[in-house]
C-alpha cells in the first residue's frame, strides 16, 4: 500500500515539476490528437454536410457503411495503415512508419468517418426552415448549406470534441504506427501501456491523471457548448 502512495506522490512530482520526459509525452499526445482532429474535421465535416443535403438512391447504404466504419477497432485501423506504409507496402517509399506523420494518418482515418457521420446528424438536426429561409432570401445552394452549417456551429464543435476524445485516448494506432519512440512518437497511452507492464507505476499514474484531466476538460467543453445552443 505504501508503494502505491509513494508512486502517487512521485506521479504528482512528475506532473508539477514538468519533468522533461513526461512533458514530451503529453505534448506528443496532444500534438497528434489535435492534428488528426483538425484533418478529420477538414475531411469529415464537408462530407457530413454533403451527405445531409444529398438525395441519391443508395444514400441509406452509404450511411450504413459509415456507421459500420465507426465500430472498427483502433488496432484494425492501425494494421490497415501499417500494411500501406511499411517499407514493403505501396507507400513504403514515403517512410511514414514509426513517425508522427504515420500516427496522425492512422488517427485521422479512424475519426474521419465519425466526424462525417456526426456532422451529418448535426446538420440534419437543424430546423429545415433555416435552409428554406436561406434559399428564399436568394442564397444559392452552396451558400445555403454554409448558412445551415453556421447554425449548427455549436453542434459541430461538439463533434470535433468528440473526435478528439476518441483519438487522444487510443493506443492501437499510436503503438502500431508510432513505435513508442522516446521524444518522438511516445504518447500518453503507449507510455502508460509499456511502463506499467514494466512495473513502473509513477509515470503511468502521472500520465493517467493527465489523461483523466483532458477527458474532464473535453466534457466540460461539451457541456458549455450544449447550454450555449
Amino acid at each position: 500500500m505504501s508503494d502505491l502512495r509513494q508512486a502517487f506522490a512521485e506521479a504528482l512530482r512528475l506532473i508539477f515539476s514538468a519533468d522533461s520526459d513526461f512533458t514530451a509525452i503529453v505534448f506528443a499526445s496532444l500534438q497528434f490528437s489535435i492534428s488528426s482532429t483538425i484533418l478529420a474535421a477538414a475531411l469529415g465535416i464537408p462530407a457530413g454536410i454533403a451527405l445531409a443535403n444529398a438525395r441519391f438512391p443508395f444514400k441509406r447504404f452509404v450511411e450504413d457503411v459509415l456507421n459500420t466504419l465507426l465500430a472498427v477497432p483502433t488496432v484494425v485501423v492501425g494494421l490497415f495503415v501499417y500494411t500501406l506504409i511499411f517499407s514493403q507496402g505501396p507507400l513504403g517509399r514515403l517512410h511514414l512508419l514509426f513517425t508522427p506523420t504515420g500516427v496522425v494518418l492512422g488517427q485521422t482515418l479512424l475519426i474521419a468517418p465519425l466526424v462525417a457521420s456526426l456532422s451529418c446528424s448535426a446538420i440534419a438536426a437543424v430546423d429545415p426552415v433555416v435552409r428554406q429561409t436561406a434559399l428564399t432570401l436568394g442564397a444559392a445552394r452552396f451558400r445555403a448549406a454554409r448558412t445551415v452549417a453556421a447554425e449548427a456551429r455549436a453542434a459541430l464543435l461538439i463533434v470535433c470534441l468528440t473526435a478528439f476524445g476518441r483519438v487522444v485516448g487510443e493506443i492501437g494506432i499510436s503503438l502500431l504506427l508510432g513505435g513508442n519512440i522516446l521524444g518522438y512518437t511516445r504518447t500518453i497511452t503507449t507510455a502508460i501501456s509499456l511502463q506499467t507492464s514494466r512495473g513502473e507505476f509513477a509515470l503511468g499514474l502521472a500520465l493517467g491523471l493527465v489523461l483523466l484531466f483532458i477527458a474532464f476538460g473535453i466534457n466540460l467543453g461539451m457541456r458549455l457548448l450544449r447550454t450555449k445552443s
Binding site: 511499411f86 517499407s87 517512410h95 514509426f98 519512440i181 522516446l182 521524444g183 509499456l194 514494466r198
Partner: protein, 244 residues
C-alpha cells in the same frame, strides 16, 4: 495437482521452449520480460525463479539478499546489426565501443530497447565505453522488446545491438546484416537464480532448485547446446561438464 512455477526471464527465443520441454511433469510459466523487470518481479515475490543476463544487477540482487543459488549456465553473444549501406562504416570493426563511437559521430540511426533489459544495459555500457551520451533524434529508445526493436531497425534501416539467438530466429525476414561481432565486450552470459526462501517462504523452493540443477546438468546442458533454429545453434552451455 502440481502447482505452476513462474520463471521470469530475459527470454531469447528458444530458451522458453527448452525449459518448457523439460518441465513435462509440472507447469512452468515463463514470463518473458527484460532482466531489469524480471528482477523487480522477483523482489515483489511474483516469481520463483529468474533467468537473466545482467551481471551487475545480478550481483546487486544477491548482495541484497533477494536471491540464492546463482548459476551461470549458458552464454551467447551480442552482435551489432545494421543496414547493408553501413553509413557509419563499422563493418568488420573489432571493437564494439569503437563501432558505437563511429555511429554516434555520424549521427546514424540507432534503435535502443530503452527498457532496463540486459541487452539495454549492455548497450549503455558500450556507449559509456565509447565516451558519448547518445541522444535523440538519431538514438531512438522504444521501451519494448527485441522483436519490436528488430522490426523498427529493419523498417528504418538503422543500427542496433541484438543477441545473436534472437537475430537468427528472425531468419530471412530482416534486411539487416551482422556488422560487428566477436568483441569480448559483446559476450552474453545467462544466469539463473531462485528467490530467497527465507524471504519468500511460499516460493516453490525445491522445484526452482531442481530446475536450476537441471539447467546445469549434463542432460540440460546438452539440450541447451543442441537447441537450434533454422539450423543455427543459439546458445553455448557453460557449466562444468558441459561443452564450451
Amino acid at each position: 495437482m502440481v502447482p505452476s512455477s513462474p520463471i521470469a526471464g530475459d527470454n531469447p527465443i528458444g530458451l522458453a521452449a527448452v525449459i518448457e520441454g523439460r518441465a513435462a511433469d509440472h507447469t512452468v510459466d515463463v514470463i518473458a520480460v527484460g532482466s531489469g523487470q524480471a528482477l523487480k518481479l522477483a523482489i515483489n515475490g511474483d516469481v520463483d525463479m529468474v533467468i537473466v543476463h545482467d551481471p551487475a544487477a545480478e550481483k546487486q540482487f544477491l548482495e541484497d539478499g533477494w536471491g540464492i543459488n546463482h548459476k551461470t549456465f549458458m552464454m551467447n553473444d551480442f552482435v551489432i546489426l545494421g543496414p547493408q549501406s553501413d553509413p557509419a562504416r563499422i563493418k568488420g570493426m573489432k571493437s564494439a565501443a569503437q563501432a558505437f563511437s563511429s555511429i554516434q559521430k555520424t549521427n546514424s540511426l540507432f534503435i535502443s530497447r530503452g527498457d532496463d533489459s540486459g541487452t539495454h544495459k549492455r548497450e549503455l555500457d558500450l556507449w559509456q565505453k565509447a565516451g558519448g551520451k547518445p541522444a535523440p533524434p538519431w538514438h531512438m529508445e522504444i521501451g519494448q522488446g527485441m522483436g519490436a526493436v528488430l522490426t523498427m531497425a529493419n523498417e528504418k534501416q538503422a543500427y542496433t545491438i541484438c543477441d545473436r539467438a534472437t537475430y537468427r530466429s528472425r531468419g530471412g525476414q530482416l534486411n539487416l546484416k551482422v556488422l560487428v561481432e566477436g568483441d569480448p565486450d559483446l559476450l552474453n552470459y545467462y544466469s539463473a537464480m531462485q528467490v530467497n526462501p527465507t524471504r519468500f517462504p511460499s516460493a516453490k523452493n525445491i522445484l526452482s532448485g531442481q530446475m536450476i540443477g537441471w539447467l546445469c546438468s549434463p542432460e540440460g546442458q546438452k539440450r541447451i547446446g543442441a537447441y537450434a533454429v533454422n539450423g543455427h545453434r543459439l546458445f553455448n552451455p557453460t557449466c562444468e561438464g558441459g561443452k564450451k
